[in-house]
């Protein structure tokens, strides 16, 4: 075994802090929306999906910007960056409108 890949104390501290924040977020967020709306409310599923989805999505955005995979001053990267952001908003808005339409148009069945 070698210790060459061991992180510096600063990296360890940062890693532990990020992990702790993530775990708290994953544990607390769904409990928060359930205590607020209950499990039967259709917006609970929406907020669960987009709350966690937004976290994962923004992690992706952070990584590609931080690593230089996406450089806003290079070629078409800026265009694609905005496509990514607008795509997320597009799906979130479509699903929200879908729920609104589901709840507000009268049902004629028995």
């Amino acid at each position: 075994m070698t210790t060459k890949n061991l992180p510096t104390p600063r990296s360890v501290a940062l890693g532990l802090a990020v992990t702790a924040v993530l775990l708290i977020y994953i544990y607390a967020y769904p409990r928060l929306i359930i205590s607020w709306l209950g499990t039967e409310n259709p917006w609970t599923s929406y907020l669960y999906l987009y709350g966690f989805g937004a976290g994962f999505f923004m992690m992706g955005i952070f990584i590609i910007l931080r690593t230089g995979a996406c450089q806003l001053d290079r070629g078409h990267d800026k265009l694609w960056f905005w496509v990514l952001m607008l795509g997320f908003i597009f799906f979130a808005v479509v699903h929200a409108l879908w729920i609104v339409a589901s709840l507000n148009i009268p049902y004629l069945g028995v």
Binding site: M1, T2, T3, K4, N5, L6, P7, I26, Y27, P30, R31, I34, T39, E40, P42, T44, S45, Y46, Y48, L49, F52, G53, A54, F56, F57, G60, I61, I63, I64, T67, G68, A69, C70, R74, G75, H76, W80, V83, L84, G87, F88, F90, F91, H95, W98, I99, A101, S102, L103, I105, P106, Y107, L108, G109, V110
Partner: protein, 634 residues
């Protein structure tokens, strides 16, 4: 009379439908075989020479993403839970940044030919062959599963025994994939995608018409069936929490990152920029429309049943619809709403077979690619010529088809529903390899020993949860997921967490590879990958396409080098040595006649002709008298 799918087919209808299906098989086989002329070497055979326009690849993905089982499965889900059947198709956006700016440019610029090859270059040979085992298991599972499900459908409608019908279907499929390769797959899938949408749209419109219009359909759809999401945890087999962790994350990453068939489709596209367009189109347009096409008959069925209940019997113009077995929803509703018209129904059933063919042809081609690039070439015959490998690739396609057929015997002996077999298999196979790819791409300190051990340990632990599902309890409770010991999707989260913990832990105590060895294979080294791909410094200045340029021969030019006028250079914003994509100007060919070339110093002729050698002209499949369009890659 055949009774198998809840409908009674008269003999004449059976004959008409059978003739349409067989005719379709022959048509598509002939269509696919025609494209064998565009496969001269194994690069053409598997990747079509990285030449296609984004729209062609994206359109062909429509059919690839819809399996023969999709119509039956999602119509059933649509009937049971309504429009939330779209959830698995419309939750992919969260991983798109990782794909567009991470995985896609890495595999494209590194010229990775197979996912296992990436494992060897990023980690080591052991990791490659662990990946080969897992990915081959995944793909053979899918080939056998799709063949089996179409066998079940044919047995249900025509009474044909599965063990006879499947080899016949496989013969037609194997024929065009074996001779045509990726080009045949792309063009037949394009055609079949159109078929799928027309047939699915026909079935939906017939149902909406029977209901009395779109507003009637929506008005009679219960609120629970209108909502885009199901309850957070209630249904053990279909709940929002499980779908997020197992499907939106693990499933979507598997779909985009480790599905060799889809990866090959992206590698057939002319540039990463166009690959991003294809990915965008796929997630924003193709997947949502596909979700509607495969599931909407179930939504219509629910409204039909509710409206029948209100009116006290059959709706005007059609027989009463009774769905005793929800698995039969698609067949029963389509048959009735099409007024039992054999020709139209036959067309829809042909689309079901199209769904099968277009999914399996991609998988067969992908299996053959792994067979050649990961097994035959590195282990059995490393130094043969291209002609030999092309022949071997065709034999590999035959073998992949035969193995798929043999697996049908195994599927036919399984107990339990097909859904259970499917998800149990996939959710066990996916998590460990998906996590390993993800860590490999986005964490440069991830080491080879960590990759090998975590893949194996993750796979074994995930497998064990089939017998000990209570191992998943704590994790599921932690994320407020379902707590019911079924855990179809939560199993994937468990597998990813175990693999991740082992991967990170072992990496900290093992030696990473030198940065130079993995340049271009991690997200922070994409620039280096791009420079290697081009063979020089990339030119990112955005130019315009130069369209409709005449071609002239200049035999003094090297192979795959062109010279163009200074004004064309200016239009393209190109510099000497830049990589240029040259294609026949007719856009509808989608890049079928095209090639990547390098641009030399501009010529001093008075016209805007593109100068190139005869060999380059022939390699691009260009035609005499036809103009070309140029586009700078970088």
């Amino acid at each position: 009379m055949q009774e198998g799918f809840g409908i009674d087919l008269p003999l004449t209808a059976t004959i008409v439908i059978g003739c349409i299906v067989v005719g379709y098989f022959i048509l598509i086989t002939g269509f696919g075989t025609y494209f064998s002329r565009f496969s001269r070497d194994i690069n053409d055979f598997f990747f079509s020479g990285q030449r296609f326009a984004w729209w062609l690849a994206a359109a062909s993905m429509v059919a690839t993403g819809i399996g023969s089982y999709s119509y039956l499965k999602y119509s059933e889900q649509g009937f049971l839970t309504g429009t939330s059947s779209t959830m698995t198709y419309m939750n992919d956006w969260f991983i798109v940044p990782f794909f567009m700016f991470g995985w896609l440019p890495i595999i494209y610029f590194a010229r990775v030919r197979s996912i296992p090859e990436y494992f060897e270059r990023r980690f080591n040979r052991t990791a490659r062959y662990i990946a080969v085992c897992i990915i081959m298991a995944y793909m053979f599972f899918y080939i056998g599963y799709n063949l089996f499900t179409i066998g079940v459908a044919l047995q249900g409608m025509f009474g044909l025994p599965i063990l006879y019908s499947v080899p016949v279907v496989a013969f037609f499929l194997g024929a065009y994939v074996t001779f045509g390769g990726q080009t045949a797959v792309i063009f037949t899938d394009l055609f079949q995608g159109v078929m799928l949408y027309i047939a699915g749209g026909l079935a939906i419109m017939a149902g909406i018409w029977a209901l009395g219009g779109f507003s009637e359909w929506w008005a009679y759809l219960p609120e629970s069936h209108r909502l885009p999401f199901v309850h957070l945890t209630d249904d053990p087999k279909f709940n929002t929490a499980g779908l997020f962790w197992g499907e939106a994350l693990a499933g979507s990453i598997a779909f985009s990152f480790m599905n060799q068939g889809f990866i090959m489709r992206y590698l057939a596209i002319k540039s990463v920029h166009d690959g991003r367009k294809a990915a965008l189109f796929n997630v924003i347009v193709t997947l949502p429309i596909s979700a509607i096409i495969v599931g909407a008959v179930g939504w219509v069925a629910k409204s039909l049943v509710m409206k029948q209940a209100v009116e006290g019997g059959a709706l005007e113009g059609i027989n009463a619809v009774h769905i005793e077995n929800t698995f039969h929803t698609f067949i029963v509703v389509t048959w009735e709403t099409l007024h039992q018209n054999s020709i139209l129904f036959g067309f829809v059933i042909a689309a079901l077979t199209a769904a099968l063919m277009s999914t399996i042809d991609t998988l067969i081609n992908a299996c053959a690619a792994i067979g050649i690039y990961d097994i035959y070439k590195p282990l059995i015959k490393p130094d043969a010529d291209d002609k030999h490998y092309l022949k071997a690739a065709r034999w590999a396609s035959v073998i992949a088809t035969v193995v798929g057929v043999l697996l049908v015997i195994w599927f036919a002996q399984q107990r339990g529903s097909l859904m259970q077999i499917h998800y149990k298999g996939i959710m066990v196979i996916i998590p460990s390899i998906v996590t390993t790819i993800f860590l490999g791409v986005f964490w440069k300190r991830f080491t080879a020993p960590a990759a090998c051990i975590s893949m194996l340990v993750g796979a074994v632990f995930t497998l064990i949860t089939n017998w000990y599902p209570d191992w998943i309890d704590p994790l599921s409770r932690f994320v407020c997921g379902p707590d019911n010991d079924v855990y179809i999707y939560m199993r994937a989260l468990f597998g990813m967490v175990v693999t991740g913990i082992f991967g990170v832990g072992i990496s900290l105590f093992t030696q990473p590879r030198d940065a130079e060895e993995i340049a271009g294979l991690t997200v922070d080294t994409i620039d280096e990958g791009m420079a290697k791909y081009k063979g020089g410094k990339p030119n990112h200045t955005v130019g315009k396409k130069a369209r409709h340029l005449p071609v002239a021969f200049d035999e003094s030019l090297e192979h795959n080098v062109i010279r163009i006028s200074p004004s064309t250079m200016e239009t393209l914003k190109a510099e000497e040595g830049d990589l240029i994509y040259m294609a026949d100007s007719r856009w509808y060919l989608g890049g079928l006649r095209s090639e990547h070339v390098k641009v030399a110093a501009p010529h001093d002729r008075e016209d805007d002709a593109v100068l190139l050698s005869k060999a380059t002209f022939e390699e691009a499949y260009l035609l005499d008298g036809k103009a070309v369009t140029l586009e700078k890659i970088f």
